[in-house]
């Protein structure tokens, strides 16, 4: 008798609440695309979409890493600097004549190592993620200029071929290899979050770290892993950026962490952790990309409108999260 009573606890809401933010982002993306197509002839060209992907592939990869961190309720301010540092290290090593095969692993190792160290500081010494990753941000940016004060061009064969290879259909629409790499990263991340213990522990920690500890989950290991993953994603992002620009510049990707955090939040991941999907992050990055494209197409709007619109969207989505009450704590 009581058993049936107890099942009433669920609300009448058909749509699972935690999917609302992602669906809202999807709707927003479609609306924005619709506006673009209706206003500008050239917007309907499929290559416009492909260009958004090409221009933002490195952002997407970094945002995927950030999604892991934010899902645990943390934050990683170091991503932009790590991206720049990775590109700088690659460019500098290539300049000294190291083969691409040696440069790639080195460049890809530095980011995760820094992430691992930050994770350790956060976990073992109870330093707030904000401060620890801020130090990481300073460190990585400092390393950039330590390597070189000015931009280093890349002329390595592997890099240029990665940069110039087009994967496309016969009609001439194409994406770069970076886009493919980005989507591989997205797929691996989505699998990790949904189907591995590590991924599920990430959600559990974001939901309630104290409970996760009492349930015997490896909280410390997971937190360190998350910052290492974010470091790895930043490193991959840095490599993709160096494919894209064919250079390493000490001041590139300054403030990128803000775009990344904005993309993750607009993609429906709750900043207090525990709720969100990689798919949402993909949508969030696309929203940012489409805004940029729309503003470029318009011509009369200046680039600073991008920031204002992103700020407005952030506000709208945070308010939405607040209204539907996604706060499990």
């Amino acid at each position: 008798m009581t058993a049936t009573q107890l099942t009433i606890g669920r609300g009448p809401v058909r749509l699972p609440r935690r999917h609302i933010p992602v669906l809202a982002t999807l709707a927003l993306l479609l609306v924005m695309y619709g506006i673009g197509v209706s206003q500008y002839q050239a917007f309907s060209n499929i290559q416009v979409v492909f260009n958004v992907l090409i221009d933002n592939s490195f952002l997407l990869v970094v945002a995927v890493g950030m999604t892991f961190v934010i899902l645990t309720g943390g934050i990683d301010l170091s991503v932009g600097s790590v991206v720049a540092m990775t590109a700088m290290v690659s460019a500098s090593l290539l300049e000294r004549g190291l083969p691409a095969g040696a440069v790639l692993p080195i460049a890809l190792l530095i980011g995760p190592m820094l992430g691992f160290l930050m994770g350790c500081v956060i976990h073992f010494f109870d330093i707030q993620p904000f401060i620890a990753t801020l130090a990481g941000m300073f460190f990585a940016r400092g390393m950039c200029t330590f390597i070189s004060g000015s931009s280093i061009p890349i002329s390595d064969g592997f890099w240029t071929s990665m940069s110039q290879t087009r994967i496309g259909d016969p009609r001439g629409n194409f994406v770069s290899i970076s886009v493919v790499i980005a989507f591989v990263v997205v797929a691996v991340a989505a699998y990790t979050l949904a189907y591995t213990r590590l991924g599920r522990n990430v959600y559990a920690i974001g939901g309630n770290q104290q409970s996760a500890l009492l349930m015997g989950l490896p909280v410390g290991r997971t937190k360190i892993a998350v910052y290492t993953i974010s470091g790895l994603c930043s490193a991959i992002g840095g490599i993709l950026l160096s494919f894209y620009t064919l250079s390493g510049a000490p001041l590139i990707a300054v403030g990128m962490e803000l775009d990344v955090i904005a993309a993750v939040v607009i993609g429906g991941t709750v900043l207090t952790g525990g709720s969100g999907y990689v798919f949402g992050t993909v949508l969030g990055v696309l929203v940012l990309g489409v805004i940029q494209t729309l503003i470029t197409f318009d011509g009369s709007l200046n680039s600073w409108w991008t920031k204002i619109v992103i700020g407005g969207l952030l506000f709208a989505f945070i308010l939405l999260q607040r209204l539907i009450g996604i706060r499990y704590k």
Binding site: T2, A3, T4, Q5, L6, T7, G9, R10, G11, P16, R18, Y191, A194, Y195, T196, R197, R200, N201, Y203, A204, G206, G207, N208, Q210, S211, A212, L214, M215, G216, L217, G274, S275, Y328
Partner: protein, 513 residues
């Protein structure tokens, strides 16, 4: 029953913290297929014993033998792997995850290295069916009530082939129907041979389910009894022990006549006040100089009544008048302006500001009432604080140390001082004596008597009926978030009568399940 071998034997357990002897030479045994209640007052050592068993604390001396093997767990996880699972008072699960995941996270069924969601759901459904719980295992845990979440926690605990299930006050936030549901599950698990260690504050729950009772007092073992051989009264005596005498000697002064007190306009008059999901409509009057006791079990709505009267929560319906004038309390600020003070039962979260000094904590409410632009002059602060540190014998008597460094009893006195310097006309005390030692308890009780003699109205909330009876002029009894009865505290009223009032109805319901 005693012929069988105990699944768990704890012998000569001692555990000391600096300045506190938490457990002294305690023996405890647990047989398979029994519900064993661990009883004792706050601070008797129940929690410490459980934490020693589950490896949260190490032991100073003694042995723990589980199924014939000596064990010494190094943490709850190791304990549950060893067959001792614990469900805590607060649900320690992740509300953002699904029900199925909450049961299995950390030991998810996997296939080819990946989490096997289908199998996990199937097993979760099977497990919940065993517990007669018909809920959607895919839904996030947050979408279910606390009671269901508690059951899910139990499901998680028994899935690891638990031989011993420790339930540490699992019922404190459940209503009667939910408790019945929990008991049904406990009986079922007991019949399957699991040994259940059950900690609760509610006497009638003990008699509703337990087969055997172990009583602790002051960190020592009082004895082990079967439920049948120990009467309720006997149990209370064993739990309280000498304290009863100490407190009885404390005040045997005649109480002033209620009829005299209740002349004139009441200070506070609540009519049909209610808040949805919190407390059903209730009416209550409190006169100047009157102590009104609020009795009832934990979770019966006592605190909710207090919060409505203090404006900490807003009432949906009903009328409230203070001094004969109708008023609406939207927030504590409004209530304080009317001369009402409130000491919350949750000292640490809703009472003290641990980082601030004793002095700052004491003047906080007075300062808040004056607004930040009109600071209380430092000399006046020192005078006031000095006066109350002496009057309430707050120790250590140094007002400039952080209040977090004080013991529970002294923190409670600091809170009392905070309200007393605002010279309230009504002071609401929610469990002011919980978890503090006998001496401090007696002092606080004495203070309540003095305050009411001085004309202050007091609403006194306590789970200890003796205490309520000793202090109050009249007693309002809460049950299931409803004020069921108001009794004038004269010769005809004793703790049995109140207990009957609390239990009436609840007992009948339980009989049908």
């Amino acid at each position: 029953m005693t012929e069988r071998h105990p699944v768990l034997t704890m012998t000569g357990i001692s555990k000391a913290f600096p300045g506190v002897r938490a457990l002294h030479d305690v023996d405890f045994r647990l047989f398979p297929g029994e519900v064993h209640a661990l009883m004792g007052e706050n601070g008797a050592g129940k929690s410490t014993l459980i934490k020693v068993l589950t490896g949260v604390y190490g032991i100073d001396s003694g042995t723990i033998i589980l199924s014939g093997e000596p064990v010494s767990f190094r943490g709850p996880m190791q304990a549950s792997a060893g067959g001792v699972s614990t469900v805590y008072q607060e649900v320690n699960l992740c509300a953002n995850l699904s029900v199925a995941e909450n049961i299995f996270i950390g030991r998810e069924p996997r296939r080819f290295g990946a989490v096997w969601w289908g199998e996990m759901r199937r097993r979760a459904r099977a497990l919940l069916t065993r517990l007669d719980l018909d809920i959607d295992v895919n839904a996030p845990l947050a979408s279910y009530s606390l009671a269901v979440q508690q059951m899910v926690a139990i499901a998680r605990a028994i899935d690891v082939q638990a031989r011993v299930l420790v339930l540490d006050e699992p019922t404190s936030s459940l209503d009667t129907g939910e408790v019945a549901q929990l008991f049904r599950i406990m009986r079922q698990l007991r019949d399957e041979g699991i040994a259940i260690l059950f900690v609760t504050h509610f006497l009638d729950q003990v008699y509703g389910i337990a087969d055997r009772i172990t009583v602790l007092r002051n960190g020592s073992l009082v004895g082990e009894y079967t439920t049948a051989e120990l009467s309720q009264l006997g149990l209370v005596e064993k739990m309280i022990g000498k304290e009863l005498d100490v407190l009885e000697r404390l005040d045997e002064q005649p109480k002033r006549e209620l009829a005299v007190l209740e002349r004139g306009t009441p200070f506070l008059d609540a009519r049909e006040l209610s808040r949805k999901g919190s407390v059903a409509p209730f009416s209550l009057t409190i006169h100047a100089g009157e102590v009104v006791g609020l009795a009832g079990l934990l979770g019966s709505g006592r605190t909710e009544v207090a919060r409505l009267l203090f404006g900490a929560d807003r009432a949906d319906h009903g009328d409230l008048s203070v001094d004969g004038r109708g008023t609406t309390l939207r927030n504590p600020v409004g209530a304080i302006a009317q001369g009402i003070g409130f000491c919350s039962e949750n000292r640490r979260l809703e009472g003290i500001v641990g980082e601030l000094t004793v002095r700052e904590n004491i003047i906080l409410a007075l300062q808040a009432a004056r607004g930040w632009l009109r600071p209380v002059a430092r000399r006046r602060q020192d005078e006031l604080v000095d006066k109350y540190v002496k009057a309430l014998s707050i120790r250590p008597a140094n007002p400039e140390i952080p209040v977090a460094n004080l013991s529970g009893g002294n923190q409670q006195k600091v809170l009392l001082a905070r309200w007393l310097i605002t010279e309230p006309r009504l002071l609401i005390l929610d469990e002011p004596t919980r978890g503090i030692d006998v001496g401090a308890k007696a002092e606080i009780q004495k203070l309540v008597v003095e305050l009411s003699d001085g004309g202050m109205a007091v609403l006194f909330i306590s789970a200890e009926l003796e205490e309520v009876l000793r202090l109050s002029h009249k007693v309002a009894v809460m049950r299931d978030r409803t004020l069921v009865s108001e009794l004038t505290n004269d010769e005809s009223v004793d703790s049995d009568r109140i207990m009957q009032t609390i239990a009436s109805g609840a007992g009948e319901e339980r009989a049908t399940t």
